[in-house]
Symmetry: C2
């Protein structure tokens, strides 16, 4: 029978800059009696990755530019927050009162360049997305392999809004060891019809599946293991494969 | 420990118009030794729902209009296929050679109004989306309750492209018994920060999670059970809640 399990990883301590995420995950899964296995997909919430990498900014330390002040007035955000968001962005997609949609340096279109005030101690602190979440995923994967000798895939996930759909879902912003897209084009269905458009964004689906567990307890479960899913391994995986350039998009 | 299981339902026979999907599911889960339990989320691929509801059209029987012929020429589709797609749509979002993006009558923006040639026997047949997938989900849920006395949630899922992201994911096009959005706005995070934007499209995440199992074997696994996920029950659930009107969208 085909069965996939999503196991929440609890007992991960509050993460601080410089912490070794791989080590924290390995200790936590051992403590709860669900040690990692070859072929597991380890989904790690962006927030703890950002914290471990020191991607935290104190807004009081930020000196907003003239332009950031204008953006802040229009979007009704703090000038220092607008400044941080602009620093993290490659372009502004849309400004509106209460909203600042940008394209991050990695090419993801999202609210506030992923700069976030939730789940960080101290009202004045914000977290930024990792510099390069693929590198973050790769480092965690390497760390896990070193500590356990197990070969897993790692996905760094983030909560994201979506065009044309209400509500957020978790998506993959970093991948390691897994091809983020499963490509069935050219294969035949059971009736002999050749599938022409079947590229599944499995990394996003895995991130969403993990959120079903991670989202149930917020900060208490920052990591989930997806077990039993057969994915296509890739040593050169990059999430860039999941991003469609705005110019190429037919939906919008 | 927080753990969610996704169980593929195999042994569902080839579905024909008039078939009782609830009955087929109940027989199949019993046959494989995983009977339904209270609180399960039963995710059913749109394709078998459409087939059971007789939403199948033979292209040879379709008489394309003048306009459909023009659309067909421009998008390089069969005139009869263009005609069926237009009949299923409320508006055309974008036409391009090889592409016809429309808004379905239910308000979903997708390729070809969900009209699909894959996984249906006979090269000349296409399937349409159910007339109202919420009603389909409700009927399956009622049928399951009648047959098993179990209260489950039902999601009708479909594979969908997405603006700004490459690859398809499965989303919910019909729901019954579950609030499709989990709303955490107003709750505080562990550091006392009040979450302002935390509405999770759990129905879409459940559909994506189920695809990890359904997608592994195409037609052989048209249904998956998600077990262990605590959702908010709703007797008046509608997928309309998941659709953001184009006029209101800030991303595009």
């Amino acid at each position: 029978m085909t069965r996939v399990e999503i196991i929440g990883v609890e007992r991960v301590p509050e993460v601080k800059p410089g912490d070794d995420i791989a080590k924290l995950i390995c200790s936590a899964v051992d403590a709860q009696g669900t040690p990692l296995m070859d072929g597991d997909v380890v989904v790690v919430a962006q927030k703890i990755v950002s914290k471990a990498e020191g991607r935290i900014v104190r807004l009081a330390d930020v000196n907003p530019s003239e332009f950031a002040r204008k953006v802040a007035t229009y979007t009704r955000k703090k000038p220092s927050l607008a400044e941080v968001i602009l620093r993290e962005s490659r372009s502004i997609v849309r400004m509106a009162p209460g909203h600042l949609i940008t394209e991050t340096r990695q090419g993801i279109v999202c609210a506030n360049s992923g700069v976030d005030r939730s789940n960080v101690s101290g009202g004045d602190l914000v977290t930024l997305l990792p510099e390069d979440s693929d590198v973050s995923a790769r480092n965690i994967r390497k760390g896990i392999r070193k500590l356990t000798r197990k070969t897993v895939a790692v996905i760094v996930s983030d909560t994201s809004g979506r065009p044309l759909r209400e509500g957020h879902v978790d998506i993959a912003i970093g991948v390691a060891g897994i091809d983020p897209i499963s490509d069935l084009r050219g294969q035949k269905d059971p009736f002999g019809y050749t599938l022409r458009v079947k590229q599944t964004a499995v990394a996003d689906e895995l991130a969403s599946a993990a959120e079903l567990v991670i989202g149930q307890a917020q900060e208490r479960i920052p990591v989930a293991i997806v077990r039993g899913y057969r994915f296509r391994p890739s040593e050169r995986a990059r999430t860039a494969k999941l991003i469609r350039r705005r110019e190429k998009d037919l939906f919008i």
